[in-house]
Amino acid sequence: MSTTAQDQTVSHEHHGAPSGLKRWLFTTNHKDIGSLYLLFSLLMFLTGGAMAMVIRAELFQPGMQLVDPHFFNQMTTVHGLVMVFGAVMPAFTGLANWMIPMMIGAPDMALPRMNNWSFWILPFAFAILLASLFMEGGGPAFGWTFYAPLSTTYSNDNTALFVFAVHIMGVSSIMGAINVIVTIVNMRAPGMTWMKLPLFVWTWLITAFLLIAVMPVLAGAVTMVLTDKYFGTSFFDAAGGGDPVMFQHIFWFFGHPEVYIMILPAFGIISTIVPTFSRKKLFGYASMVYATSSIALLSFVVWAHHMFTTGMPLAGELFFMYATMLISVPTGVKVFNWVATMWRGSISFEIPMMFAIAFIVLFTLGGFSGLMLAITPADFQYHDTYFVVAHFHYVLVTGAVFSIMAAAYYWLPKWTGNMFNETLAQWHFWLSLVSVNVLFFPMHFVGLAGMPRRIPDYALQFADFNAIISVGGFAFGLSQLLFVAVVFKCVAGGKPAEDKVWDGAEGLEWQVASPAPYHTFSTPPKVD
């Protein structure tokens, strides 16, 4: 793909970045907002990580050591909420903000002011959520899935703050997603036809559609929880004609597409990085697009595989089992395509590629345990055990989080104009890779043996594995401080990066200077 982008020479009424705090508060610039999202996400990643450390410290030994059970419940709940809504989703939105306009040759996001609004709601929403931890009665303690009646009959009085915090997070996500879709549909440079779009853009287009489709359903779910708890309705109370299981149906109708919201952009990142370092075109571009779309569509009809043990009618159990297993087909297409891209490629192992390869292997592992969980009769054994915890941490940590790390390393030189410290990054990668497996792999074993999740104590036979898991957890947590160090050192300085940082890289973002100028593509490039 070649272009005639001579953006830097085009003069226009815009100037460089304004200075001071106002730059960040009032900004309409997609790069500023992208940086804000990424920084916020890093902060939340560390916050949620600190909570995970509390959980692992308590579980280091059997018996109750450090925290009381109610606080433990708050930690598991808020860890989940912070990581899902505060770390992973904003990180992907930050990457979308930074990269999508540059990748499609647009001057900015389509609705720049709304973009700023989407971001700035988030710090406020999380301030509310985290502040409730310090209030009388404590924060939410019903699990991030807030199942009724835990969140209605048995929750503390501060639940209303949780509900409205989730509401405004939802507003933020919906506005962010609308911005992404409109940008991609309306702002592509001439010649950037649909089947030339970089895969990161494609996957984000589909992700944004999922977000707009399901975030409002989450809003509906929290609203019903609110009225059940405070206004005497009985949506989730059989005594009034409702049904607690209905909560799970509504929640997971949101929740399952939500987990694909957290993995589709990761697919896009991996599909960008693997060809670069294999120095080959992506194998099966079109099939990647169709696979992503089918995964997204299927995500709407598999939600009840989270609910096999609720006593659904047999037809429901069977339908959701087969529909779920069907998802492994397009997902398999993706994995094979990545492997085929590397096949006979001229591979070099820079840090982004290391994370990408780790992603392919470990995400696939998480996919396999997902397949095991999809089998209804087997799920009766695995349900609500650490096997489930192992499964979703493999897809979310070694999946989503590793892809975000890969993306950060891949584009940091473009963002900052500096190369990062390779040695530190190597340390970060290897320590993370080893510790993450020490952390999550034994969870499969204790889970299969029946250790229940979300309980602050466990039977003695799980003690050894839990000690190992906790050690892995602390090591993984500490390793991430290296990542913070690499990022801040890279922002502060380093070997100047070339415009085309990686020699096999393709795409419009490599045709602008490093660091990327404050405004790029004010006049669209021609793509042919």
């Binding site: 700023n116 709601i121 409109v182 019903m224 405070y230 049904d243 209905m246």
Partner: protein, 291 residues
């Protein structure tokens, strides 16, 4: 490079979004505290909520005034106009999904939850052990724990309201053709009529609620029938209010001479929204009242 390309307008820095974020913060904290303070002797929540709403209104006025000035001074290109249109379309889709959550709850309750409590399918023991006297009927007038209420008939006010809202969609369509053909007087009359019908609808809705609460004993907390009835019609009513306010602002702009046959995104967005609340009402009328 295409010589005719008009640069996409990327606005300068703007204070309004952060004001909006602060407003959302106050609204979320205020609404949360208000709910938590229900029945207690405290009003800090209500004041916080009120402050949030005031800031939000200030934000909307300031932001929209700015956008209208930009639009009137010709900064917007056709591409910009498409961004706005697509943005509005997706916003309406998100609203559709919000209602889908509540319609989903209604359908689930009517098709599964209530019949199962009554012992259908393989749930004979559910009924026998929990509430053996419970009979599964819809509308659910007596809940399993014995709360009784009366159903809202669809004849009368709901039917009149349906006719009013459908009529308002027709008058809005006439206004739409009028703006496209630059018939300003016709536009003002039909748009004004639409807004009037909208407020009449809301007035009758209030009347219906009073009737439900005082005469039928049908309340928000009278079991799943009352829950779904008030949540669906209530959220619909809020959306009608918002739609009517949008149309009102557009009408005032038209009186000031804004919006012409070529450029009338504001009109179109409000009109789309109005047709959307109309369609939601039709679904409501069928599934909440009639069937």
């Amino acid at each position: 490079m295409d010589k005719s390309y008009q640069p996409y307008y990327v606005p300068e820095q703007s204070p309004w979004p952060i004001v909006g974020a602060v407003a959302m913060f106050f609204i979320a904290v205020g609404a949360g505290l208000t709910v938590m303070q229900l029945g207690k002797d405290a009003s800090s929540g209500a004041w916080t909520l009120f402050a949030g709403i005031v800031i939000l209104i200030g934000m909307v006025v300031g932001w929209f005034r700015h956008v209208i000035d930009e639009s009137m001074s010709g900064l917007y290109s056709a591409q910009m106009d498409r961004s706005f249109r697509q943005g509005m379309g997706w916003f309406i889709f998100s609203e559709v999904m919000f209602f889908a959550a509540f319609f989903g709850a209604l359908f689930y309750v009517r098709m599964f939850a209530v019949p199962w409590l009554g012992g259908s399918s393989n749930n004979a023991m559910t009924n026998e052990v929990l509430w053996p006297q419970f009979e599964a009927l819809w509308p659910l007038l007596t809940t399993p724990d014995g709360t009784a209420t009366q159903a809202m008939p669809w004849q009368g006010l709901p039917l009149i309201n349906t006719i009013i809202l459908l009529t308002s969609s027709v008058t809005l369509h006439f206004a739409h053709t009028a703006i496209e053909q630059n018939e300003r007087l016709k536009l003002k009359v039909f748009l004004g009529a639409t807004i009037l019908l909208g407020f009449v609808f809301l007035g009758l809705q209030v009347e219906e609620y009073i009737h439900a609460y005082t005469e039928l004993g049908l309340k928000l907390d009278s079991g799943i029938y009352g829950n779904t009835f008030f949540m669906l019609t209530g959220f619909h009513g809020m959306h009608v209010t918002l739609g009517a306010l949008m149309l009102l602002v557009v009408w005032l702009r038209i009186l000031k001479g804004h919006l012409d046959s070529n450029q009338h995104f504001a009109f179109q967005a409000a009109a789309w929204y109005w047709h959307f609340v109309d369609v939601v009402w039709l679904c409501l009328f069928v599934f909440v009242y009639v069937i």
